[in-house]
């Protein structure tokens, strides 16, 4: 099977999901990785037009993109351009004769679907769904110039969010620390951030927190925010509304800290701490630093 991977970069480096896709593509067959170049800011049309031309020349059976906002944007439109089948946010892919056997979540993760997808097809793949082999060499990436003639939009500006910094991206982070209403106010967020720094984690928030304006919307984890699948998810002062659980329940290990022993978050936590976040979190941050130093 000929597989074309659409690469994504964050800053200078390839995104981890691109490495995961390249490794999977090698497993499925004859893999090539292309990166659309010349777009300082993602735009669907010039990327899709360039990729469609490459597909005509290379005739792959399968195109893989990351299920990131940009990867899903390109994947959906490219599939429509080519008239191919498309499945989004896939968590498992295997060759099955001439077709593909695919798994993907539906209903915000409340249901898992097993699909048969005939090739040719476009799939977007959830970051973290495929394990990255240790010491996997970075794949060779071919540069594909964007088709700028097809652009119909004008880029005006990038408007940064005040609080955003150098942290890892939430959707791809291997560790996420999220805060909820139990933190009592934005002035206490340093507790979340200090623990996140100790763990090398991205910072998330519950919807109650982003709705209250304590944290920017882009940090919201849950049904109408981001879905995350880290190795470790730490929920601080989050009660565990069904919409929040939908966004983080496939994390490998879940830690919950809440003073209410009946909070729903404890039903899905691997490790639950019933206690006061203001007392526990500073102590835990120190304990994490020590545990990491002595490992």
């Amino acid at each position: 099977m000929k597989v074309l991977v659409v690469a994504e970069r964050k800053g200078k480096d390839l995104r981890r999901v691109t490495l995961e896709l390249a490794a999977k593509a090698n497993e499925l067959g004859d893999a090539s990785v292309v990166e659309v170049s010349g777009l300082e800011h993602h735009s669907a049309l010039p990327a899709v037009s360039a990729l469609a031309a490459r597909v005509k020349a290379d005739t792959p059976d399968l195109i893989l993109t990351g299920a990131t906002p940009n990867g899903r944007d390109v994947g959906a439109r490219l599939a429509a351009r080519l008239g191919w089948a498309y499945a989004a946010d896939c968590t498992a892919v295997a060759a099955d004769g001439g077709a593909l056997s695919v798994e993907r979540p539906m209903y915000a993760g409340k249901i898992r679907a097993r699909l048969r997808v005939a090739t040719p097809a476009v799939l977007s793949i959830r970051p973290g769904a495929f394990t990255l082999p240790a010491n996997a060499p970075p794949p060779p990436v071919a540069s594909l110039p964007a088709d700028s003639a097809s652009e119909k939009l004008t880029f005006l500006k990038h408007e940064p969010t005040a609080s955003s910094g150098k942290r890892v991206s939430l959707a791809e982070a291997r560790v996420v620390v999220s805060g909820g209403r139990g933190l009592k106010g934005p002035e206490n967020w340093h507790l979340v951030e200090e623990l996140a720094d100790a763990l090398g984690a991205a910072v998330g928030a519950s919807r109650a927190v982003t709705d209250a304006g304590w944290r920017p919307n882009e940090e919201q984890v849950g049904q109408t925010g981001k879905t995350v699948t880290p190795d470790l998810y730490v929920a601080l002062g989050i009660s565990g509304a069904i919409q929040h659980l939908a966004g983080m329940t496939s994390s490998k290990v879940i830690v919950a800290v809440n003073k209410d022993p009946d909070a729903d978050i404890f039903k899905i936590a691997d490790y639950g701490v019933v206690g006061d976040v203001f007392e526990f979190v500073p102590a835990f941050t120190e304990a994490v630093k020590k545990a990491k130093a002595s490992s």
């Binding site: 906002p69 408007e159 879940i254």
Partner: protein, 256 residues
């Protein structure tokens, strides 16, 4: 500005979804149906424009079964001007839905089409970009804000670390991630007015579009295995619990 919003009726997000006995669909008995949350954001975003400029018109359309009429009625009660039901009793591939919607768009000639970024049932997110593709329009996904601009609109796209702001001339399509305000509840006068409105119906087969398109075939739906049986730490002082937890995460869970 003339805005058209394709929406989808889905099980309400509070519903505990169960798999039907056929193993391939969900059990629909007793389900509360709602407008998909991202479509509600699209409606709110459009109605905020209408609040600011009453010459704005906001239309809604859905491709779906007869029960989807209730979702259209809900959108009218929120303040949308008119609604169209494209009747399709059976589920259709995303690309077929995009082609059907494209026909409605070509007839209605809106300046701006706003879709939710994905429907909260299949979570595919394919119809918006596919509709733009069928129409040959540009699109911008992940919108949280739109601002009228000379001869067009500014589209604010949420990206890591902030927003990319794009200027578009009409016509253009956007997919909505969030609105600035929470979607409004229908007012009582809004509900009364919506009850009296006609919702014209067109059979999807009468649109003259190709409804045959490749799509994934569902073999089985499953409920993911329940989590639980975790360890609860609550005794002793928090310093000791913190040390115990850090050690468990390092030595037992191996995630530190």
């Amino acid at each position: 500005m003339k805005i058209l919003i394709p929406l989808k009726q889905v099980p309400d997000s509070t519903v505990r979804v169960k798999v039907a006995p056929d193993g391939k669909t969900i059990a629909v008995e007793g389900i509360t149906w709602s407008i998909s949350p991202y479509d509600e954001y699209a409606i709110e975003m459009a109605l905020e424009r209408k609040d600011a400029d009453p010459s704005t018109s906001v239309s809604v359309v859905t491709v779906g079964p007869a029960r989807a009429r209730d979702a259209l009625r809900q959108a009218l009660a929120m303040g949308c001007d008119d609604a169209t039901l494209v009747l399709a009793e059976q589920p259709l591939p995303g690309l077929a839905i995009a082609r059907a919607l494209a026909k409605v768009v070509q007839d209605a000639k809106p300046d701006l089409v706003l879709c939710g970024k994905q429907a909260s049932d299949d979570d595919q997110g394919s119809v918006g970009p596919a509709l733009a593709e069928v129409l040959g329009w540009p699109h911008v996904s992940m919108l949280t804000k739109l601002v009228p601009a000379d001869g067009g609109v500014e589209l604010w796209r949420e990206v890591e670390g902030g927003h990319d702001v794009w200027q578009a001339t009409f016509p253009v399509l956007g997919t909505t991630h969030k609105s600035e305000k929470e979607p409004r509840y229908p007012s009582l006068p809004g509900i009364m007015k919506a009850k009296k409105k006609e919702i014209p119906e067109r059979a999807v087969a009468s649109l003259g579009v190709d409804l045959d398109a490749p799509a994934p075939e569902i073999l089985a739906l499953e409920t993911p295995p329940a989590r639980g049986g975790g360890k609860v730490l609550k005794d002793g002082d928090m310093k000791a619990v913190a040390t115990q937890l850090a050690t468990l995460l390092r030595d037992e869970a191996k995630v530190l």
